[in-house]
């Protein structure tokens, strides 16, 4: 008798488990809203067909300066999961939008709120913080997605967030995360080799904004100076002069600029110093080649390769 009951219970649970994925796929698709396309690309990898992913900004936009348009509220109001880069990157537009979104699920501390920077080894923390340094980020440098190993942490944060809002699909998200991790690790090894073959290890570079410390860490570059040393404050002519001199004397071969800055001034610096100017996509969607999180690094390394080759054989 007890055996029969046990057997029945076992069968019942098998039937329930078999039905469950069917139920879940029949259920409404989740809506995941991310602030940037990088986060959107990673969220798509993890969420698969269980969620629709929308982004609030495009990769060619400066993520510090996105307009808090009311149309973004319409997306946030319906979101099941919200993912931000964090570390105050979006401080100028996200807190107000969240506050006006009328969506308790995605408020900071709610089940549908994901700070992608959680668990990432943040650079430039505890640096001197004061407005005399320009528009600095007191919580460290927020451009952490530019090191592919941080992509794994971001993906894990998104996976945990998805599992919180759709616990029935936890196994599905775990599987997709494992697959993403495997593919990303494989590619990371390849990128590292590419970077070494291009001679990026220890290569001195100058960048426009402080967007690239994670990228530099990942591929061995050494950022020695900035076109705009104080974020948000246009550089003084004297700084540009000194920078040009430094680049000449140290034979710095590469000047990296984000696509949303006016390239006129950095182009002049590059020309006067003999460096190659490269407009590097800092995000998925910044150029047509950077379609997803993988092709972002492909596109960056290809752009650097091209710039360096162009410089060596003028």
């Amino acid at each position: 008798m007890i055996r029969t009951i046990r057997r029945l219970a076992l069968w019942a649970s098998v039937v329930v488990l078999a039905l469950k994925p069917g139920d879940a796929s029949a259920a409404k698709q989740l809506l995941v809203v991310t602030t940037t396309q990088d986060l959107g690309a990673i969220a798509t990898e993890i969420a698969g067909d269980r969620a629709r992913v929308e982004t609030l900004s495009k990769g060619y936009q400066d993520p510090h300066f996105v307009d808090a348009k009311p149309s973004l509220l319409v997306k946030l109001r319906k979101a099941d999961l919200f993912v931000e880069v964090g570390r105050d990157l979006e401080v100028g537009w996200i807190p107000g939008l969240l506050q006006s979104a009328r969506n308790p699920r995605i408020q900071s501390g709610g089940p549908g709120f994901v700070d992608a920077s959680t668990g990432i080894a943040i650079l430039e923390q505890g640096a001197k913080v004061g407005r005399e340094e320009g528009d600095v980020h007191p919580l460290g440098n927020p451009h952490h997605w530019l090191d592919p190993k941080n992509g794994l942490v971001i993906a894990a944060n998104i996976r945990d967030g998805l599992a919180r809002v759709a616990p029935a699909d936890k196994a599905y998200f775990d599987t997709r995360y494992a697959d993403f991790e495997r593919r990303l690790r494989e590619r990371m090894a390849g990128w590292k080799k590419d970077a070494e073959s291009m001679g990026l290890t220890g290569l001195k570079v100058v960048t426009y904004h402080r967007s690239w410390p994670y990228f530099a860490d990942a591929f061995g570059l050494q950022v020695v100076n900035y076109v705009e040393p104080r974020p948000g404050v246009p550089p003084a002519p004297r700084h540009i002069q000194e920078l040009t001199e430094q680049m000449k004397s140290e034979k710095i071969p590469l000047l990296i600029v984000e696509p949303y800055f006016d390239p006129k001034l950095p182009a002049r610096v590059a020309q006067n110093s003999g460096a190659a100017l490269v407009i590097l996509p800092p995000s998925v969607g910044a150029t047509p080649e950077a379609k997803d999180y993988f092709s972002l690094f492909d596109a960056q390394l290809a752009a650097i390769r091209k710039a360096l080759a162009g410089r060596r054989t003028p």
Partner: protein, 374 residues
């Protein structure tokens, strides 16, 4: 900074004025990250910010009035933080030489209500039109538009009460606001006049928004405010008859900004119109209207130029004709956190007199990074 003054008054498109606190709190809730955050209690302090508004003024009338050439118009202190998981609090205290210390706004916002509702209680700037929501130091102007000054006073319409807003569950933005607050005194907002604080001021607003491509967008709003109007009935008989004044308003805002070059060029244009309808003692309904149109172009990363055209009738039924005015300005922002604006204003009043004024408006902000304007 909470106010890139250039376009900040349009920020009232969103329901909230202030928000730096959220992000800080959010980041503070990441215990697993290796962190060099300032330890402990200071993270639970509210975000504190101060905006200084220093102004120089010149013009013939000022000499007659005996106004001093330079003045600290206002120091605005902001304290903002989440209260608990359900609500946040925002306090703005204005300190100025004339009025002393004044609670400009102080309200609690419930952020976790279901079904698209938002509730605010306390003292706040009423959600009438777009311009009224912006704190005076943060508007692009050294003065207030003539119609705003005549209808809602030097500081704008602000009162104590409660507000409910609802964001419709539609694929586009459509928001409704309803507020019930104390009717302000006529010295504060001349369009209304409280009588023993009996009757409330009711304010309603509907606003919508549309994108035209990724660079351009339009915001459209209609508002109405109905409040006690005791001045028209208490003069002679002292009889208390119910009388109300109602102000209707419409506003249209156009924004242009190429998101690929967001920090270099932008255009903002706005028209706001309002009409007051009130019944004077023993007379017919008197309608008085006015409005302003402004445009501002950011022609370099740190430079903006703008102009405003004003027209307004007087609320006094005995005055006929329309006053008109114009304001021109050039604004330089050394950084996101400070700005200097040179402005010139002319006005032709109903009595045939005209005046010119010159302003140097300087504002600066210290404290955590607040919202960028929209």
């Amino acid at each position: 900074m909470r106010q890139a003054l250039g376009v900040v008054f349009a920020r009232a498109a969103l329901l909230s004025c202030c928000w730096a606190a959220c992000a800080t709190v959010a980041s503070a809730q990441t215990p697993s990250s290796p962190s060099a955050l300032p330890a402990g209690a200071s993270l639970l302090n509210p975000n504190v910010s101060v905006i200084g508004w220093f102004q120089g003024e010149a013009g013939d009338q000022l000499k007659e009035e005996g106004t001093q050439a330079f003045a600290l118009r206002e120091a605005e202190l902001g304290f903002q933080a989440n209260v608990d998981p359900y609500s946040r609090a925002d306090f703005f205290i204005a300190v100025d030489p004339e009025e002393g210390v004044d609670l400009e706004e102080g309200y609690l916002t419930l952020v976790s209500l279901p079904a698209g509702f938002g509730v605010k209680v306390g003292k706040f700037r009423n959600n009438f039109g777009k311009f009224n929501r912006t704190h005076p130091p943060e508007t692009p102007f050294a003065d207030r538009p003539l119609v705003a000054e005549r209808f809602f006073g030097e500081e704008g319409l602000a009162s104590m009460g409660a507000s409910v807003s609802w964001l419709a569950p539609l694929p586009f933005y459509l928001n409704f606001d309803a507020e019930a607050t104390n009717t302000p005194e006529s010295v504060e907002a001349p369009a209304f006049a409280a009588y023993r604080g009996r009757d409330l001021l009711y304010v309603g607003r509907v606003s919508t928004f549309a994108n035209f491509g990724e660079s351009a967008n339009l915001t459209l709003g209609v508002s109405a405010a109905s409040g006690e109007n005791a001045l028209s009935l208490s003069d002679t008989t002292n009889a208390v008859e119910p009388s109300r004044a109602t102000v209707y308003g419409g506003d249209l805002t156009f924004h242009w900004k190429n998101p690929r070059r967001a920090i270099y060029r932008s255009l903002l244009a706005q028209v706001e119109w309002m009409e007051r309808s009130a019944e004077p003692l023993g007379g017919d309904d008197v309608k008085r209207s006015g409005g302003f149109a402004m445009a501002e172009y950011q022609f370099a990363r740190r430079w903006r130029a703008g102009g405003r055209y004003d027209w307004s009738r007087s609320l006094d039924p005995a005055v006929s004709g329309t006053a008109i005015g114009a304001l021109y300005y050039v604004t330089f922002s050394p950084s996101e956190f400070s700005r200097v604006s040179l402005q010139m204003r002319t006005r032709d009043l109903e009595n045939g007199s005209n005046e010119s004024r010159y302003y140097l408006k300087t504002t600066f902000n210290i404290g955590p990074h607040g919202a960028h304007p929209f």
